[in-house]
């Protein structure tokens, strides 16, 4: 649905050339929640803004449903933007308008509906984001989470097929973050629209994304399903990001554990395997005890996963075969 081809962007900054995006290649399938994760300054914000041409790339093409956005004229670009909703970290609501009027703003700009139709659509959107009670309040009277709900309702007003989220939960507390993420996931599933979000938090990606791209220094260094990138990060930047999140079994104890713990293996369970007593079974089969040293269990979106680092006294290749036959990935950390 969305494809970025060889996107390059440089800025002039104090007379110096700064590369913001370097040869970005990205395919974002329709209907998915796609995460772009990176540190601040990695270029994720610029990348997100190339999708609706708020940032025009120096080179490359932005294809949205097969239409090259970079080739559109001003009117064509405005029409395209009306089909792309955008949600911001700092909400960017109009202070002089009530909640209802902020949502109506997007409809007024589009100018496609008459007043009664706009009012009906606003009522519908208020209900969708759970702000019916607050319709007549001003943004200054709302909490952060409520402001973001207004932002989301406004972004959905013109029934877009694509929603861009620019660090939509970064200014919110953890509980509110969960509620807003649930709302986004709910919207994605109910309305079937594609969501592209940028974040610096792995937790956000883990909670709602289907696929993720890791951006570092203006380049995409890794992309894939969240389970793959999260449980088996390949690039150093991804590994750091996963380690900081603290929800995957990352071997940081290697030195300390080396003596006496046996051979170190990392086991990764996803989906059905997480419900089976795999460790006990393999231990019995090999007739050697398996010692759980470190680990984490949880969910990636709606998929259960577990990742453990275990110490094994017996034969590694036999253990690997035994785990593999039960659908558990087993890596020899000494290798």
């Amino acid at each position: 649905m969305i494809a970025l081809h060889h996107i390059n962007k440089t800025y002039q900054f104090d007379g110096r050339q700064v590369t913001a995006l370097q040869d970005i290649q990205l395919q974002i399938p329709a209907g998915q929640v796609f995460g772009i994760i990176g540190r601040s300054g990695a270029g994720k914000s610029t990348l997100l803004r190339t999708l609706n041409l708020l940032e025009r790339p120096d080179q490359g093409r932005v294809l949205i449903d097969g239409i090259d956005a970079t080739a559109l004229d001003q009117a064509g670009l405005r029409a395209l933007r009306r089909q792309i909703g955008m949600v911001f970290q700092h909400f960017n609501l109009l202070a002089h308008r009530t909640v209802a009027a902020n949502i109506r703003f997007a409809l007024e700009l589009a100018g496609e509906l008459d007043a009664p139709a706009m009012a009906a659509r606003v009522t519908e959107l208020l209900a969708l984001v759970g702000l019916t009670e607050q319709a007549k309040q001003y943004p200054a009277q709302l909490s952060g989470g409520q402001k973001q709900r207004v932002g989301i309702a406004r972004a959905l007003a013109n029934q877009p097929k694509l929603l861009l989220c620019d660090e939509a939960t970064s200014a919110l507390d953890p509980q509110t973050t969960q509620a807003i993420l649930q709302l986004l996931l709910d919207i994605n599933q109910r309305l079937g629209l594609t969501i592209v979000l940028i974040t610096h938090e792995m937790a956000v990606v883990r909670a709602i994304c289907d696929r993720v791209a890791v951006i570092d220094g203006g380049s995409i260094v890794e992309q894939g399903t969240v389970a793959d990138v999260f449980l088996h990060p390949q690039h150093a930047a991804s590994r750091n990001m996963v380690a900081e999140d603290g929800h995957a079994a990352v071997l940081d104890l290697a030195g300390k554990l080396h003596t006496g713990a046996g051979k170190l293996l990392r086991l990764t369970f996803v989906d059905a395997a997480t419900y089976e007593p795999v460790i006990a079974e393999v231990g019995q089969q090999l007739a050697s005890p398996i010692n759980i040293l470190q680990g984490s269990v949880g969910r990636i979106k709606d998929r259960p996963y577990g990742q453990l680092i275990v110490g094994l006294q017996g034969d590694v290749s036999a253990a690997q075969a035994a785990f593999a036959s039960r659908g558990v990935r087993c890596e020899d950390l000494a290798a």
């Binding site: 708020l54 405005r78 955008m86 202070a95 002089h96 700009l109 861009l164």
Partner: protein, 224 residues
């Protein structure tokens, strides 16, 4: 019994009334034209500024220079320099009508600068969000920027109105009429201190009322 400090019987109250009315007329007319001229100028200045929607360095520098040049001209000089233009525009260079063109030329650049800084106060995120919704530049200005900056614009108008009051007083120099004219001709040139006192008090009252009204409007428009 010593003579009283002021002899209020010297004052022609009808004159004071007419002069006050003249001042208010000059103020009303010049403020209207100042806003009509200065608002678009200020918006243009904002839009051409660095990193703004129509960012254009040479155009911004040129406009900025013209505005600075007009603002650096002392108003008394402007009054005299503009006499030929004023005659062309309103047919006379004296009286209430003759004072209005120089007042506008003196105040519009000042107001334009205030408009520019009021617009700069609007969070760029709001401009970006409006742009992302597919708005035209005109829609961004008219539907987002100006309404969001309304409290700042009202404050700018108040400051400009107060400045115009003091300018109208100076226009007495070219026979502009109004309270300032009265103060110069009677209070200063004829040594009637009583007239001076009353005109100063009247000007003070005008300024005070303007400021209070402006503050009230700003409070009403503020939603933060």
């Amino acid at each position: 019994m010593s003579a009283p400090l002021f002899d209020w019987s010297l004052i022609d109250w009808a004159d004071i009334g007419i002069a006050t009315l003249d001042t208010l007329t000059m103020l009303g007319a010049s403020l209207t034209f100042t806003v009509l001229l200065g608002l678009p100028l200020g918006v243009l200045l904002y839009l051409l500024g660095p990193r703004r929607l129509l960012a254009n360095k040479p155009a911004y520098a040129t406009l900025s220079f013209v505005i600075n040049a007009l603002r650096s001209m002392p108003f008394v000089i402007l009054l005299i320099v503009l006499i030929p233009v004023t005659v062309k525009l309103v047919g006379t260079s004296i009286g209430v009508a003759g004072a209005i063109p120089p007042l506008v030329v003196g105040a519009a650049p000042f107001f334009a600068r205030l408009v520019e800084s009021a617009l700069r106060e609007v969070d760029l995120g709001i401009v970006e969000a409006t742009q992302a919704m597919g708005a035209t530049t005109w829609q961004i200005v008219s539907r987002a920027l100006l309404p969001e900056a309304l409290p700042g614009l009202l404050a700018a108008t108040t400051v400009t109105a107060v400045t115009l009051v003091s300018y109208t007083a100076m226009s007495g120099v070219i026979g502009g009429g109004g309270l300032g004219d009265l103060a110069i001709r009677y209070g200063y040139q004829r040594f009637q201190t009583e007239v001076m006192v009353i005109t100063v008090l009247a000007l003070l009252a005008v300024v005070q009322i303007l400021q209070m009204a402006g503050d009230w409007l700003v409070r009403r428009a503020t939603r933060k």
